[in-house]
């Protein structure tokens, strides 16, 4: 039968094209690999990942590694892979905080662009333009050199409620909990009180509140106390408290401000895309402008902007790699040091690329989950 023949022929052709394309791609990759191997061999270098288990032999300024004895600061006696892990930890640390802050600041900027106050509107516009039209690298250098490092020195640093703000770093008081059975009761109390906030548990609110307070009281009786570990300024640095390095601060500010400018534009666009009728309807039922925004407009905005925000979060995570310009030991920076101490650039690049890929996929995944949560079922 000619029809089935021609169908079979077409299927065969299609399969052969598929195989051909994949084959060429695979061939190219293999050739590339061979060429790289030859290149290495010619220079008397071998391609190997052994360096990961060798002693690092250098210090990095901040970063913790998970070892058998919990999180410990990275030291020169640890292995190179642990240095990379500490770098990844630093990347994550700054990325997570910057994502949260830039979303808040971005929404504020986006809303300010539509403020009724001309001055605020123009200021938000100018700030956005400036942040978007200049390189992030020079902004980062500016925040570090011209702002963070211009803070007072440790000896003349001001103290705010126990916190020390100096160019050598920020030290915040750290709450410390007494251990023992009281701690667990207190945790249970916190969980109980947190449940109160969830909609599902609204009917039992009173009971939960009562139980929470009772648990807390019991914990107190059993000897549970919170005391603040206040930082104390020494000659070169402060001891105690939570230390935040100037490099972290500068990178955080730069990433937050830059990403917020882009998020602000997304939010503004989304707000403007909300039909006018929505504002008018909210106006008609007598909501103030602030309430119109908070109760009516923004919830709709967040349903549509999630994918665009996801892209910005992705960019932010990638931009943490600029930390190298101010000496923040992020993944890319530590990779640079490791590859320089060991001479393993290409192997290191492959590892770093793999880590960034996984990181980006995780972000995309989280954004997708958030997007599906926020979407109203059935509404596009």
């Amino acid at each position: 039968m000619t029809v089935s023949n021609s169908l079979r022929w077409r299927r065969l052709r299609r399969t052969s094209v598929q195989v051909g394309v994949l084959g060429i791609a695979a061939l190219l990759l293999v050739l590339l690999g061979l060429a790289v191997r030859n290149g290495f061999a010619e220079r008397g270098v071998s391609f190997s990942f052994d360096f990961l288990w060798q002693r690092a032999g250098f210090e990095i300024s901040e970063g913790r590694v998970l070892t058998w004895s919990g999180f410990t600061s990275f030291g020169a006696d640890m292995a190179n892979w642990q240095a990379l892990a500490a770098g990844l930890g630093n990347t994550l640390k700054v990325a997570v905080v910057a994502v949260l802050l830039s979303t808040l600041l971005g929404v504020a900027l986006g809303v300010s662009r539509l403020s009724t106050n001309w001055l605020i509107r123009k200021l938000a516009f100018t700030a956005t333009e400036f942040l978007r039209n200049t390189p992030l690298l020079i902004q980062l250098t500016f925040w570090y050199v011209a702002v963070v490092l211009q803070l007072p020195g440790l000896r003349d640093a001001p103290h705010f409620w126990g916190a020390i703000i100096s160019r050598q770093g920020l030290w915040l008081p750290r709450p410390e909990f007494t251990s023992g059975p009281g701690l667990w009761l207190a945790l249970a109390a916190v969980v109980t009180l947190a449940l109160m906030l969830m909609r599902r548990f609204q009917p039992w609110r009173r009971h939960l509140a009562g139980a929470g307070v009772a648990l807390l009281a019991l914990a107190f009786v059993l000897g549970f106390r919170i005391h603040l570990d206040l930082p104390e300024a020494g000659r070169f640095r402060a001891s105690g408290g939570v230390a935040i390095s100037p490099e972290f601060t500068a990178l955080l500010i730069a990433l937050t401000a830059n990403t917020a400018a882009y998020i602000g534009e997304i939010i503004r666009g989304a707000i403007e895309a909300v039909p006018r009728g929505q504002w008018e309807a909210a106006d008609a039922i007598g909501l103030s402008r602030r309430h119109q925004l908070r109760e009516v407009i923004l919830p709709q905005v967040f349903r549509v902007v999630m994918p665009s925000l996801g892209n910005q979060y992705l960019n932010l995570a990638k931009n943490t790699s600029l930390g190298i310009a101010i000496g923040y030991p992020d993944l890319f920076n530590v990779y640079g040091t490791v590859s320089n101490q060991t001479g393993r650039s290409l192997e290191g690049v492959l590892i770093a690329m793999g880590i960034y890929l996984v990181l980006s996929w995780v972000i995309s995944l989280l954004v997708n989950v958030a997007n599906n949560r926020l979407k109203i079922p059935g509404v596009r």
């Binding site: 051909g20 060429i24 061939l27 190219l28 050739l31 590339l32 061979l34 060429a35 030859n38 290149g39 010619e42 220079r43 008397g44 270098v45 360096f51 032999g57 250098f58 210090e59 990095i60 300024s61 901040e62 600061s73 020169a76 006696d77 050199v145 490092l149 211009q150 020195g153 160019r167 050598q168 020494g234 000659r235 070169f236 640095r237 390095s245 100037p246 490099e247 190298i324 310009a325 101010i326 000496g327 030991p329 920076n333 640079g336 040091t337 590859s339 320089n340 101490q341 060991t342 001479g343 650039s345």
Partner: protein, 340 residues
């Protein structure tokens, strides 16, 4: 389409397979210019003079000497900027033929990183500079201080050793280059700036107010600087090694850029052999016979190079007397093997 890609792939693999033959020396001669990796932010060693637009420094002059010796023209150098981070990769990937970038010569760099080093062209030591107002007198007072250095330098390892030896747990910050490092010291982010003492002296001397800074007296590690080339190309490495030695030998013999022409008229067969008027030194290395003459004539002997870049007339001025950088007959460590 498919054929093109296949052909391209085949060419790639063939090229990769056949390239093993030609050494760096042949490549350089064929190209007609020397790709020399130098720093451009280290006054005295490799520095771009932003007013004249010319590269200056001891390392830069070594590049020029190599070009003069191998190609007969000291200007045939293509200066490629390398950083502490990129310098080894640059040589390994063949992007530059040789690097002179105040690089510390130590075993791991020849064994693990696999580059081959040339003779030491400057003896330095790793030290520290602090602000005067800190009131620190020696490195021993720096327990707990914020110590800073540049990324990819040998100082990173030296600092780790210093901390371990003393049982300290200081914060160690690494910056991308000296300019940022000095900025961090200036702003007070860093209490002490660790790098080679020559660089410390240069930055102190050129600062707005040198009295604001103190270079601490100790040396935590000696730091011999040397150029390096790709591993396992002994023709190229040996040629460059003896070009470096020639600059020292010329100074030992008192041959300078001013008198080298005159010296060529001398009767002494050993001198004539050294300068290439007789003998086969050049031919044996595969470079021009008059390579020593050209290098000395166009760039000068080691002493001249030192005076020009680090001598008393420069802003940096690092005294040569009594240091390993003096000739061995003056009590230093600079000495050439026998030319015979």
């Amino acid at each position: 389409m498919k054929k093109t890609i296949l052909a391209l792939g085949a060419t790639v693999s063939v090229m990769a397979a056949t390239s093993a033959g030609a050494g760096v020396l042949e490549t350089v001669v064929q190209r007609g210019t020397l790709n020399c990796g130098t720093d451009n932010t280290a006054p005295g060693f490799g520095y771009l003079n932003t007013t004249t637009g010319q590269m200056e420094g001891l390392d830069v002059d070594f590049c020029r000497a190599v070009a003069a010796a191998v190609l007969g023209d000291a200007t045939k150098v293509n200066f490629v900027n390398v950083t502490d981070k990129s310098r080894f990769t640059a040589v390994q990937t063949g992007q530059v033929d040789v690097v002179f970038a105040h690089t510390t010569l130590k075993p791991g760099r020849e064994s693990a990183i696999t580059v081959d080093f040339l003779p030491v062209n400057f003896w330095d030591g790793t030290g520290a500079m602090v602000k005067t107002e800190l009131g620190v007198e020696g490195i021993g007072d720096l327990d707990g201080a914020n110590l800073c250095t540049t990324q990819g330098s040998s100082t990173e390892a030296a600092l780790a050793n210093l901390l371990k030896a003393n049982g300290w747990s200081n914060q160690v910050l690494t910056y991308e280059n000296l300019e940022k490092l000095f900025g961090a010291l200036n702003s007070g982010r860093c209490d002490a700036m660790f790098t080679d003492k020559s660089a410390l002296a240069a930055w102190r001397a050129n600062s707005a107010n040198p009295a604001d800074y103190v270079v601490l007296p100790e040396i935590i590690e000696k730091s011999p600087f040397a150029g390096f080339v790709v591993a396992n190309d002994s023709r190229w490495r040996n040629a460059l090694r003896w070009i470096s030695y020639a600059l020292i030998e010329a100074e030992e013999r008192g041959i300078t850029s001013a008198n080298v022409e005159e010296t060529l008229k001398s009767e002494d067969p050993n001198t004539l052999m050294f300068l290439g008027a007789q003998g086969t030194f050049g031919a044996d290395f595969g470079i021009p016979a008059d390579f020593v003459t050209q290098a000395v004539k166009q760039v000068g002997n080691y002493g001249e190079i030192y005076e020009r870049n680090l001598g008393p007339d420069t802003t940096i001025f690092i005294d040569r007397k009594g240091t390993p950088n003096a000739l061995s007959k003056d009590g230093g460590a600079m000495i050439s093997p026998l030319w015979n």
